[in-house]
């Protein structure tokens, strides 16, 4: 890339392209396994490769848009999509995305105007939101894993949904597929938050899915399907906005697709063969490592904005540490998932022998 373009988009050689494909693959496996978009891994991963934060978010949200379109179609076939709920959330989610894009663009440009490193402001802002939100998500998830009683009740808690139902904040809207009544005000708040976070860090599902499960009280499968349907529209809206602002790197989008659409198949297979508690545990740990990885990179942006006085030579080390942590979390997650996938594959071959056949009345089993 030459001229102004080189400020915005990175030069891709075979090595960096391969890294983006690997990011996509790991993100795809995690996405299929966890049920989120995998942005928590791919966005910081691309930033570690030198991609501007706003471009990383824009490219990821555009990639997510296409992926969600394919995924939501499949969920739709399974009857897991409450379109009315998704479209209701979309109204405020669109406002949230617009707010996020405006803020990111403003910070990206202001970094240049104030004399600091261009994009550093946006990078810092995105990283801070990323770290704070995902810390809450990861800690809640791990707390849920370790705090759950071992009485076999592995389902999510519905205390919040029940408390809100008692408040009876009118008007209430009934959603047929999800089979719940939700207050319009709660709906608007969740939509706005989901949209803002999707637009800021490309992570909408981490807020949307738990909100639907814990706040609205809808079944997990419907929450995942509806979120994906919503993500399709949010992704489209985000992609349009970022494309209009000129931040989408089509090459990154294609490379992410190359890895993620393969990885997602393996992740989905992993979900079928790993216990739910283990899924949550692995997810929580991976997210926490991603948070740590991003937190390590924050001093770089602070220095670029002249907010702290550290040696520029530290940037390389911090970036490497950040990248190392991210890839460690990704590879650890992939390792656990692939181990279970292969184990299940072997078990399946033995499945025929697992039949237990007992003949009555002798009682011999």
């Amino acid at each position: 890339m030459h001229g102004l373009l080189s400020e915005l988009f990175i030069n891709l050689d075979l090595y960096s392209a391969l890294q983006v494909v690997i990011l996509g693959f790991i993100g795809g496996v995690l996405s299929g396994f966890i049920g989120s978009g995998g942005a928590f891994f791919m966005t910081p991963g691309m930033m570690n490769l030198g991609v501007q934060g706003v471009v990383a978010v824009a490219s990821n949200i555009t990639h997510k848009f296409g992926k969600a379109m394919v995924g939501s179609h499949k969920h739709g076939e399974m009857g897991n999509v409450d379109k009315k709920l998704a479209l209701s959330l979309l109204i405020t989610a669109a406002a949230g995305i617009r707010l996020a894009v405006w803020l990111s663009s403003l910070l990206f440009e202001s970094g240049d105007a104030s004399g600091g490193h261009k994009g550093a402001g946006a990078n810092l802002y995105i990283s801070l939101v990323f770290v704070s939100i995902l810390t809450v998500v990861a800690v809640s998830m791990l707390k849920d894993v370790f705090g759950k009683k071992s009485d076999g009740d592995t389902g999510p808690s519905h205390k919040i949904a029940e408390a809100l139902a008692r408040l009876n904040l009118k008007p209430l809207i009934y959603f047929k597929v999800a089979d719940v009544h939700v207050s319009l005000w709660v709906l608007l708040l969740v939509g706005l938050t989901t949209g803002y976070l999707a637009g800021t860090i490309g992570v909408g599902g981490f807020i949307g899915v738990p909100a639907m499960i814990y706040v609205f009280g809808i079944p997990t499968a419907v929450a995942a399907g509806t979120e994906l349907y919503l993500a399709m529209f949010m992704g489209a809206f985000g992609a349009l906005n970022y494309a209009f602002a000129g931040y989408v790197d089509l090459r990154l989008v294609l490379l992410l697709f190359l890895g993620s659409l393969l990885g997602v198949h393996l992740g989905v297979y992993g979900v079928k063969v790993v216990k739910e508690k283990i899924i949550r545990l692995v997810t929580g740990v991976i997210i926490l490592l991603c948070v740590l990885s991003r937190a390590v990179a924050i001093p770089v942006y602070l220095r670029q904005m002249d907010l702290i006085n550290t040696a520029a030579s530290w940037d390389g080390w911090l970036n490497s540490a950040s990248k190392g942590l991210l890839f460690a979390s990704g590879f650890a997650g992939i390792g656990i998932i692939m181990y279970n996938v292969l184990k299940a594959y072997r078990q399946r071959l033995r499945l025929k022998r697992t039949i237990a056949y007992s003949q009555k009345p002798t009682g011999q089993h």
Partner: protein
Amino acid sequence: MAIVIISSEIKNVRRDLAQSVAAKLGAQCISREQLVEQATQAGIPVGKLEVAVFKQSTPRERLARLKYRYLAFVTAALCDLASQHRDLVYHGRAGNLLLPRISHVIRVRLLADEERQLQQTMTSLNLEMEKAKDYQRRLQEDVARWVHFMHGTDPNDLRGYDLVLNLAHLKMESAAAAIFSMAQLPDFQTTPASTQALGDLCLAARARDLLGRDERTGDIDLGVSAQDGRLTVTYMPQQAEKAPAIKALLASLQGAREVVCTMALTNLLWVSESFDPDSSSFAHVTDLAQRWGAAVELMRLAPQTADEEGVCLASAEDLTAAGPCLPKEMDLTGGIQDDVVTQPAGADGGLASTAERLISLGLFGGGRVLVGGGEEVVVAIKSAPHYSLVVVGDVFVSKSPAVRTRLSRELVAYVSERVTLPVMSKEDLQAKVVFGAKQFARLALYTAPVAAIFLAVFTFQEPIQGFLGSPGSLGMKVLAAAAVAGFVPLVAYLYGNSAGLLFKWLRFE
């Protein structure tokens, strides 16, 4: 032997009629309230279940296990009473749904005199007319909600009854006489087939009840069905450690000719009028089941003749305790039944031979016969929510090929629209399972444009990114956004299909 079931929301009215009918028949009389009390004593929190359903405060999936346990208890209790007493009269809210597909059960819908009920409510609760009306309306809504939750149907669906009596037009004594007369009809006498059906229903219910009561197995979801005395219990791999407990518990169960415990990830429901273990459909279904680690449940969709019309439509049954739905033969024989049911070879549509083959493969998840069409299939699927796929095989076989194709397609569409899981025809299944030349062609068809797109984008990356990234006029910006919005889904669609086919080829689904 007669079993009379009277359904009404108004307890006093149905109780009076049931006692009157029981006195005429010399039958044992039992009420829903008595069974609820017994269930509560057995540790099933029925009150809690009712409150949760009425208030809709607890997520439905949490109630599902309790629901099945309660239904199994009630069905088993009715079965026990039916075996102890020659005649039985039961009255409850939606009792017509409790013993589905048993031809010698008379299902009566009782409509109370509304004016009289209103007066009684006003007097007994000391309410004004409007409030009393409101109270009755709420009561009916609660009952409808309960019935919908427990059985997935509307209590006012009259197709679920054999007789509707309106006490606004009839005296109680006349209503009792009408039921008594009906109980004498040959249509409602026991036959070997109906006895077998009741036996299977009871066996499955007792097994489910027994498993639900035991602390080792009470908290797991099991598929339980019975056919001709053969009890099939399907469990998931994560429940494998519970398998010895299941077998130990069922060893003491009376009435089971054979007990089969099968581990499955999920169940595939194969609906067909005729089965053939040597057919290509059988190979495709078992191939998919082995890949998924699933059990195959057979549902023979027997054609519905004019004589049989309404037999199975009559109830939106609870098929959790499955049993065969056999056509009434009264109209054909004048009510005279052979003592021994004889079936010519192949008259079961290949059900037995296919079941045997599935058992030998370790893939059998149960079997049953259902008379009717799409509506009955939908009810059956909704009543047993452990399926992950429904395959519609050879149906309407007596029709011409063109009509058969159209009707099959319509059946698939009808069921698909009404259930929340994939439904496909055997042709669709073949297309999805078999990876032949056609699939290779599709793989190439999807992969080629993807490769071309990648080549083009990375060859001309500078001008493309220049177009997308450089600040231009408003028109150019809109064009860039539109290009991204149109191009990205296309790539995702093409490459998504390509990747899916690749994994299918690798048999890695």
